[in-house]
Amino acid sequence: MIELSNIKKAFNQNQPNEYWALHGIDLTVEAGKVTAFRGPSGSGKTTLLTIVGCLSRPTSGRVRFKGEDISGLPERFLTDIRRQSFGFVFQQFNLIKGLSALENVILPAFPTGRPRAELVAAAGELFDQLKLGHRSAAKVEWLSGGEQQRVAIARALINNPEVIIADEPTANLDTALSKEFMAILEGFTAAGKTVLLTSHDPLVVESSAVHRVVGMRDGRLVDG
């Protein structure tokens, strides 16, 4: 589904503090599976995730998504692909304060121009699935950590993407909530979605819900 070949990524190019986060990554991600990237912080796993998720472009190397080369695409088109095909769950949840849970969830669909009524109905369904129905009108800052994460998950799903990308999803959760998250994850696989996540939480990488673990260190792949 996603093929990476010789991906390199530099920050602050041509400046004294130039820094290469990735040094040539070759990787193929299978559709319908859960792949976890494991490695210490600074190993480049988040950078790799941003490239896979069309959030940024590699400095060199090729990214193929469903057979199409997307590595040289301008931001405008990457955004289109990202909006249609990828859903994101961030470590800090990154919900917009002051808006209700419902408003946060339907935000990614605004640029698509889908009618509001349709969006609200879709969000309602997701809330029911995630057992959040009663909290949809609440401002996000009033929600508990677990609830916030479920709002973030609902937001990731609103455009019905094929791939879910989660960056350290359990970093801010206790054991019970982390287990709950893993259960939701299994639901994704059952629905045929591809999941990519980064984590160094053993609860996640050793879970049976994860099909493949890819190890990373210093911007290179190492054996999981």
């Binding site: 988040t46 995730l49 941003t50 959030l55 940024s56 931001e75 405008r76 955004t79 289109d80 990202r82 909006r83 994101f88 961030f90 470590q91 800090q92 990154n94 919900l95 917009i96 304060k97 002051g98 808006l99 408003e103 935000l107 990614p108 605004f110 640029p111 698509t112 121009g113 889908r114 009618p115 509001r116 937001r155 455009n159 960056d167």
Partner: protein, 377 residues
């Protein structure tokens, strides 16, 4: 098209919510913006109202006024002058006018005395302007005495107070009969102050004037259209000068807008980063921010303009009166006839919304190009 509309609706929804969340920051800008619109709108509404008033007043005055010149100074029209003009094609009516100024030590003000035909004002009676009547506490059937320049005391009965509709020009006016006028000022018999001619066809006015100056080389014809033009030009010029003086304020406002737009709080930056990460395109963010600017502009414009309207037409433009009016001690106190026109609103729009938009354009773009992966770093 439908999708596009729906999308704009979403963007406006989001913008409104986001403005509401940052009330304090936006209220400061909105206030400054509204104040600017208020000041500029008051200024233009006021000058426009004065222009309208002047046009209105002049509409009733004769098309051509003929003055006699002696040594480059305005002099009396000698007897027989009227007949010398003879018949000129296009002139409907010609009449000698009598008017002059009278200094009233009671009010330290100059009045304009003007003679009217006997069928309008009877001997021993006067009609007075509204401001004068107010200041001297006059009403119909009251009597008032003026000491003439020769020292004689004349007493008149007020037969009417002039309608306040055109107070700008009639404020200090005193109308009296021709006989009274001549005896009050000891005006030589047969002489007139000037000659008024009415010309029906506006296209003939200039021909008539040319004939007059060739028939009477020692005279100067003054055309109504020229007086009107001069008034307009003077008002425009004053307005323009004040606007130029206010350019500093506009610039300061533009800088404020620039600063507000570029000084995004960490919270706002994060929000834009989130929006971009979850699938908003740079163009979407620019559009959202444009809506924000538009909403702020329209609100400020509406508020400022309404406030200015109330200020000018209900409170008589208290702030600008001394600058733009004032050629006489007797201030005409008049409620201006509300007059608003498209050109003014368009000009005002250019003076306020245009600088604002130009100032926030680059900051908006800067905010919109936030890296979409910033939130994951």
């Amino acid at each position: 098209m439908r999708i596009w509309l729906e999308k704009q609706r979403h963007l406006i929804d989001f913008t409104l919510a986001s403005l509401a969340r940052r009330k304090t920051k936006n209220i400061g800008l909105l206030l400054a913006y509204t104040l600017l619109v208020f000041v500029l709108a008051s200024l233009t509404l006021f000058t426009h109202a004065l222009r309208t008033e002047a046009t209105f007043v002049l509409a009733g005055s004769p098309e051509v006024i003929l003055q006699r010149m002696v040594a480059g100074r305005h002099d009396l029209i000698p007897p027989g002058y009227l007949d010398k003009i003879g018949r000129i094609r296009g002139v409907q009516k010609k009449e000698g006018r009598l008017w002059g100024y009278y200094y009233d030590p009671v009010l330290n003000a100059n009045y304009t005395f003007m003679a009217r035909p006997a069928d309008e004002v009877a001997d021993g009676h006067i009609m007075v302007g509204n401001a004068l009547a107010r200041e001297r506490g006059l009403d119909k059937h009251n009597t008032i005495s003026f000491r003439s320049y020769s020292g004689k005391l004349f007493t008149f009965e007020v037969s009417a107070v002039l309608s306040p509709d055109s107070e700008l020009l009639s404020a200090d006016l005193v109308l009296l009969s021709e006989n009274d006028f001549r005896s009050f000022f000891e005006y030589p018999a047969g002489h007139y102050t000037d000659i008024a001619l009415s010309v029906a066809n506006p296209q003939e006015v200039r021909t008539v004037a040319a004939k007059l100056s060739s028939a009477l080389p020692d005279s100067r014809p003054i055309l109504r259209e020229e007086v009107l033009r001069t008034y307009q030009s003077v008002f425009d010029w004053r307005e323009g000068i004040i606007l130029t003086v206010l350019a500093g304020a506009i610039l300061a406002f533009a800088i404020l807008a620039w600063e507000k737009a570029s000084g995004l709080s960490a919270e706002e930056k994060r929000e834009i980063g989130i929006l971009k990460a979850i699938g908003w395109e740079t163009g979407d963010v620019i559009r959202m921010k444009t809506w924000e600017g538009l909403l702020i502009s329209l609100t400020a414009f509406l508020l400022g303009f309404i406030a200015a309207y109330v200020h000018v037409f209900h409170f008589g433009a208290a702030v600008f009166e001394p600058v733009l009016k004032g050629w006489s001690v007797l201030y005409p106190k008049f409620t201006l006839v509300p007059a608003v026109d498209g050109l003014q609103i368009a000009t005002l729009f250019f003076f306020t919304v245009f600088p604002y938009t130009a100032a926030v354009l680059v900051p908006i773009w800067r905010a919109a190009i936030t890296d979409p992966d910033a939130v994951m770093r």
